[in-house]
Symmetry: C2
Subunit: 299 residues, 2 copies
Amino acid sequence: MSIIVLGTVALDTVKTPFGSKKHMLGGSAAHFSMSARLFAKVNLVAIIGEDFPPKYIEFLRKKGLILTSLIKEKGRTFKWQGEYRGDLNTALTLNTELGVLSAFRPCISKEQRKIKHIFLANVDPDIQRHLLSSMQSPQLVGLDSMNYWIHHKRQGLVRLLKKVDIYVANDQEARDLSGETNLIKAAKCLSSYGPKMVLIKKGEHGVIFYTDKFIIAIPAYPTDKVIDPTGAGDTFAGGFMGYLTKARKINSETLKQAIAFGTIAASFNVEGFGLERTSRLSLSELERRLSRFRELVVF
Amino acid sequence: MSIIVLGTVALDTVKTPFGSKKHMLGGSAAHFSMSARLFAKVNLVAIIGEDFPPKYIEFLRKKGLILTSLIKEKGRTFKWQGEYRGDLNTALTLNTELGVLSAFRPCISKEQRKIKHIFLANVDPDIQRHLLSSMQSPQLVGLDSMNYWIHHKRQGLVRLLKKVDIYVANDQEARDLSGETNLIKAAKCLSSYGPKMVLIKKGEHGVIFYTDKFIIAIPAYPTDKVIDPTGAGDTFAGGFMGYLTKARKINSETLKQAIAFGTIAASFNVEGFGLERTSRLSLSELERRLSRFRELVVF
């Protein structure tokens, strides 16, 4: 089964209490792909600039990703610079350079238009809408966004949510977009905008998943090995959407499994800088930790 | 099986977005007892003043609690006044009147000294130590504290922890006492002070339980019905310790069950002001919601 993910491929400069790295391969689509690839054929839709290191393209190709819609344009690659302090729960953005991202219009092949599982990772809602409108027969559409778009393109985002099956947000985004402080109320409100399913990521506190039929709550994998949390949410989404793509059906059981796989994928992501850990992750490793996780949380 | 709980019996004045109540029956030992009574014979050790309404004593007696060590002294009952805003996660203390609590020296009967399960709910560590030293053969000792004692009687608290099996703390207390931001690291550090088991309560985010052999993580019961969270932590502890007292053995399975029962007891507590909801809670109600909870979190 195939999944198509739209998002960013970026050069990340990150500082955490455990060190700093300059211009690592990063971005929402790259992190998503690194876990989704364990379950499905991943078609990556993103833009890079002329300064993008060819070794990174080679790296993505070797991971089995379909890169025909990873387009290179004149200009500079999207760059993000951030720092984590204290409990590493919140990133402090020091600098953002949009570069080629500011004029990105995704363009995919005729074959890719037929893909039924779609994830719109965090980019401008206009770009997300543009890609979604070119898909022929979407079956499962997930969307992630961020506070910047909630505050600057709220209307466009809310309009887009009507066409989305699963809205993936972190707790602060869910509260900001809904205006509700209680997360269950927030999820209910967000679901009324269109998505039948709302998944709220709470970082070290795990996930709440809401539909009007049932709610799922899964804690995070308890770990004290947090080196760099950048991309943990996207890695979660990749494991979650990847598993659902492979499972081919949506019910409370497959959803719980998908959330658990996403949770474990994210727990590997935070153990290294950027894609360090997830790029060498295997499905059997993921399954081994999942079974340990099950012992910790299943009563 | 019997359990003895030392703590406060208070008159609480609480304001939440859903209303306000004056001089309700409250306090750490009262909330603890209301859930522990569903599993074990609860011996309540606390002090009240001359202004304590006789109807509240009658109320506690009718709930099946042993009140021989609920002593009345000259002076006024301990009073707490607080307010919750926004997501109701944090209480804003508006006023505290210690009253008779400031000169409290617990005094228990010869029979009570033989009780093997002991919970030292939040009071001055000196009072907690005093009670513990009068117990003949403690088998399972749990202790809860609060930030005030962590900052004002740190040494006494840390000394007391050596004699404790389970230290129950909320996330902020765990971070403050350990100096660690990551909660797993915090739990490890706190365990090194003495308690083999450390249970960290994260409010709406559930619980992390640490021993050097395994870690348990259980989410909170997802609910949007939060009227008044006062005493939720104590209600959790009551369900948790009560279950372990009834189970008579400690292993990863009984601990997970105990945490789940505590979680569900707390989810009832927040649905009403003070003891409103938990005072009319039955074990079968608790079990019914636990089985719904299982469906939401077990994958």
